[in-house]
């Protein structure tokens, strides 16, 4: 006799925002959850190690997210300036 257990359903993570998109912090959290996960049944010392690793990982991802957004904004600002939209470029620079 085989016991096939299909009643195993994972848990989703929901992130929401107000008046705009997700923050760098929220996106970093999403990335970390995708990269590093630990089973709820794992021993406590493994959970602790995973928690520390995730904190370090989040810091690195957050840093590069900020950099990516800053660099993309710089590219957009330059493109707007080059096409004569200086006011809009200034507006985006101040965001």
């Amino acid at each position: 006799m085989f016991n096939v257990n299909v009643s195993q359903l994972g848990s989703v993570v929901v992130k929401t925002s107000e008046q705009g998109g997700l923050s760098n912090e929220q996106i970093a959290d999403l990335a970390v959850e995708k990269i590093a996960s630990v089973s709820e049944d794992a021993p406590s010392h493994l959970k602790q190690q995973a928690k520390l690793f995730k904190e370090q990982l989040k810091g690195i991802i957050h840093h590069y997210l900020l950099l990516a957004r800053k660099e993309e904004r710089g590219t957009i600002i330059q493109a707007l300036r080059s096409s004569g939209h200086k006011e809009m470029a200034e507006y985006i620079r101040r965001l």
Partner: protein, 151 residues
């Protein structure tokens, strides 16, 4: 609880009948619809979802807003695979933007086959976006965490 996380019982039977195809190429179309308890739903209706849900229902579904349209968003399938002795399948994360939504849970269903229910997701508390982004992230696709596992 009006929304209780569960793999739908009808889905388990339908798996044995070969009803659902989760393959990335040529598989069925699976959707995720959002539901509310209380005033968050359309016409202030409350969703009742759980293991006994057999198909998409409209009671308690959140109203269209931003990129969310009633019936929900289409999920991008990830080919089923194995992890150890466990078979798993996964979906890409799903986001609705510029949306004002309050949802307590979601229903994954097969829109290629009479909107048959797959699983009910319970967010455990109301999640709200206001003119913003509502993102559902699926868990890591491994034997311990994947959204759908056959062990």
């Amino acid at each position: 609880m009006a929304i209780a996380q569960a793999m739908c019982t009808s889905f388990k039977k339908e798996l044995l009948e070969g009803v659902h195809n989760f393959k990335n190429s040529g598989g069925d179309t699976f959707k995720l619809a959002l539901f509310a308890e209380g005033s968050g739903g359309k016409s202030s209706t409350t969703a009742t979802l759980g293991a006994t849900t057999t198909a998409l229902v409209t009671t308690g579904e959140v109203a269209s807003s931003g990129t969310y349209a009633t019936g929900g968003g289409t999920l991008t399938r990830v080919d089923p695979s194995t992890s150890g002795t466990t078979a798993i399948t996964d979906f890409a994360d799903l986001s609705f933007t510029t949306a004002t939504i309050t949802a307590m849970g979601a229903l994954i269903y097969n829109s290629s086959d009479s909107n048959k229910a797959v699983a009910v997701l319970d967010f455990t508390s109301n999640k709200t976006s206001t003119a913003g982004t509502f993102t559902i992230q699926f868990p890591t696709a491994d034997a311990s965490n994947a959204i759908i596992r056959i062990a």
